[in-house]
């Protein structure tokens, strides 16, 4: 199935592209953009569909909860972008109904998402640091602060020993 799909999706356009001025695509490459068609119902929302079976398979092997979270982020964007683009809110103000997916995506970045995501993304390292600090504090409480220093020294000596042995 993979071979047949690959031949149709990538193989045929590559071969025809080598022989002709433009490649002939059986399935649309790299995606079909519906942003202009859905502009009336979903203003300022980039909508496009790709037919890459490889991405479909990647989605199956990536952690389920990560994919579910991504889908949640996608749904939130679909719900909130039209609200943010409404004249009452006026946040996504640069968008025009004739914009394609790429232009919509870029204008949204400039108008809102660049600033919003600056610290939105910093929640992840905060969570990681918090976990590390709680582990650090718990270990210090259970075994004493000097145990951490001894652990550090032994790790350092072990690394040196491995390095010398190699």
């Amino acid at each position: 199935m993979g071979l047949v799909f690959g031949a149709l999706y990538i193989g045929f356009p590559t071969l025809t592209g080598a022989l002709l001025d433009r490649p002939i695509t059986i399935l649309p490459l790299p995606f079909v953009d519906f942003t202009q068609q859905t502009a009336h119902y979903l203003p300022a929302t980039p909508v496009a569909v790709a037919f890459d079976l490889g991405m479909f398979l990647i989605g199956m092997v990536l952690p389920f909860w990560a994919m579910l979270g991504t889908f949640g982020g996608f749904l939130a964007t679909v719900v909130f972008n039209p609200v943010l683009a409404s004249p009452a809110m006026g946040v996504l103000r640069s968008w025009n109904p004739g914009d394609n997916m790429q232009t919509t995506f870029y204008k949204n970045q400039i108008d809102f998402y660049f600033s919003f995501a600056l610290v939105w993304g910093s929640q992840l390292p905060s969570r990681g640091c918090f976990r590390w600090l709680t582990h650090f504090a718990r270990t210090a409480k259970e075994r004493g602060a000097m145990a951490l220093v001894r652990s550090w020294r032994s790790t350092s000596r072990r690394a040196e020993a491995i390095s010398d042995r190699s």
Partner: protein, 228 residues
């Protein structure tokens, strides 16, 4: 030995970058030099250490966004050359996992280093050869390379927005930088993260949520649908 190796590597990074900036501007920009020393002596070791521990504790990687952008903007440098410098800004934490895997499988570290020494020149020559071959096949972006044709403009515009931050005056970066939305992101993100953590939501779900925002792009839809 390990500390000395790291010292030599970061000294080379800082030396080469300072020299390149000197060749471009005709002077040494000391705040940028200070930023590189900060990366080499504080940021990279701390982030690498925390990531290494975090990998063992929770299987997570510590990634702090926009560190490069923030530090270079605060350095006060005027121009775009600084964005193209090689900087000692890395997270070596995941290499700890790799070395632990080698240790567990009985692979000698010297074997890995020998293979790296052998591979590096092959990769350099191979990359140049294939880049030249692919470049000569047709114009990039062009009709032969459909994805690049569709996306290069957005990618270039996003990069130029960040690069414009050190140009001075009113730039695209100034246009995109809005403190109200930054605080909104902090507040909403904090509430959501606190709420999901309190509810005991899996870490991957929170990661996915952050990555999924403003990503109604074709590959996100197909990947999410396959998981569901």
């Amino acid at each position: 030995m390990i500390v000395a190796t790291y010292g030599v590597v970061v000294a080379l990074y800082i030396g080469v970058s300072t020299w390149l900036l000197y060749m471009t501007d005709g002077k040494v920009h000391w705040p940028v030099f200070g930023v590189m020393v900060f990366y080499a002596l504080l940021y990279t070791p701390i982030v690498s250490y925390v990531t290494a521990r975090l990998e063992g504790i929770a299987g997570e990687v510590l990634t702090i966004p926009f560190v490069r952008e923030a530090t270079l903007i605060f350095s006060g440098y005027q121009g775009v050359a600084v964005w193209f410098l090689p900087m000692p800004l890395y997270n070596y934490g995941q290499m700890t996992v790799f070395y632990r895997q080698c240790e567990l499988t009985g692979t000698r570290f010297s074997s890995i280093w020998k293979s790296e020494i052998l591979l590096t020149p092959i990769i350099i020559v191979g990359s140049l050869l294939f880049a030249h071959l692919i470049w000569s096949l047709g114009p990039i972006p062009g009709p032969q390379y459909l994805f690049a044709q569709e996306w290069w403009e957005v990618t270039a515009a996003q990069q130029s927005m960040v690069f414009s931050s050190t140009l001075g005056g009113f730039t695209e970066f100034e246009e995109a930088f809005n403190s109200t939305y930054i605080f909104a992101g902090l507040a909403i993100g904090g509430i959501l993260f606190g709420g999901f953590t309190w509810l005991g939501a899996p870490t991957f779900f929170v990661y996915g949520l952050v990555r999924g925002l403003n990503q109604t792009l074709p590959f996100v839809i197909i990947r999410s649908s396959s998981a569901l």
